[in-house]
């Protein structure tokens, strides 16, 4: 019995199939296809964004959030420590109200102004949380460029290690190009005393 005849085409295909270069190229191609599919399938924003007016509660999680008391200052007082800025501090009061069944928390925030994004200064934790039936308020401070205050907008959200649904609330702070210089001038003359701990109380 004679051995099976192996054609040149068969040998060539086997050689190509064993090629590491081809395997690498196919892997890269598959990853590229997956990335393109992922980009095409994801929504423009990976979170729901709602807008809040100052002092007005807006739905957030299973409760509400209120942004209020915008202040500018050149120094922050907390307990016995004073933090001075070469620029300016913008301090905002954030209140969460757990009106529903679950706790409500703002775990992360950022301030955007004049194309820049600022994160909270270390003296304020940026975390405001209320258990069910309670509301909690705390100050969040950002160190900003005093020349770029116009259009300052606060964004807050409750970040998590794994998030199935994320909602962010964006609140314009009422600083416009017409009044930005007045806010900056007022801040250069002011100091803000931060609360030592969040103000927590039962909802009325």
């Amino acid at each position: 019995m004679s051995a099976p005849v192996q054609t040149r085409a068969g040998r060539g295909w086997r050689t190509v199939a064993r090629s590491r270069v081809l395997a690498a190229a196919v892997s890269v191609l598959l990853v590229a296809v997956a990335m393109i599919a992922y980009r095409l399938s994801e929504p423009r924003l990976r979170y729901d964004l709602s807008t809040a007016q100052l002092d007005q509660p807006v739905a957030f999680g299973s409760g509400r959030v209120v942004v209020s008391e915008v202040r500018t200052a050149r120094a922050l007082h907390e307990r016995d420590e004073v933090t001075t800025s070469v620029g300016l501090f913008v301090v905002v009061r954030v209140t969460v109200q757990a009106t529903g069944r679950d706790k409500v928390a703002v775990a992360d925030s950022q301030l955007q102004a004049a194309g820049r994004t600022y994160t909270p200064v270390e003296t304020t934790t940026g975390l405001v949380s209320a258990p069910p039936g309670f509301q909690s308020s705390d100050d969040i401070a950002f160190e900003v460029d005093p020349g770029g205050l116009a259009g300052a907008t606060l964004t807050v959200w409750d970040g998590g290690f794994v998030t199935r649904y994320e909602q962010r609330v964006q609140a314009p702070l009422g600083i416009t190009s017409a009044n930005a210089e007045r806010w900056a001038a007022a801040g250069r003359e002011s100091e803000v005393t931060l609360t030592s701990q969040p103000d927590t109380r039962a909802l009325p």
Binding site: R101, P131, F134
Partner: protein, 192 residues
Amino acid sequence: MSTTRERAGVARRPRAGPGRLRALVGLLVVVLLVLVWLTVDITYLSTHEPPHRYVALAPGELARSRTAEFRLLSLEQTPYWGRDDEGLPASPDPGAVWVVAQLEVTPRVHEDHLLCSFTLLSTDARSWESVDLGDPTAEGESCAPDPEHVELGTTYRFRQGFQVPADEAAKIAGVALPSFDARRYQLLRPPA
């Protein structure tokens, strides 16, 4: 010189080369990474994603965890609980009251850190975590002595304080035993 195997006409199995071994190890690593991700994801979801599910025990009935047994002895309102920053009895936040749970634990298995962070549950499914204010009778998260000093089978009493809105205090259903399975929290209720 031919071997017995060759003489018997049995083909010699080719040995796995280093390339095949690397491919197998690579595949194993990928499978392990997927398993790790699934474990993290499922664990997170089971512990964080609401709604939790509660299994209500009979009043005064024992709850059993993997390493200990727990019993709820009483649930009472009190104007003060623990100590504040100045060492004085702590008042609740405005509009709230303290609800203190008196419990007992019987460790059955040695555990490095026996978790005893109960949550207080209302009849409308709201829940509150216990507040640790350094009360000498409340030992924080661990309600039993250290593993070196604990006596298995011995029952230890402890208390946990919860802060709830005043209008919720009349709607307390019981305390829920912490568990990694959020779908089956055991709900302890005080004796009738």
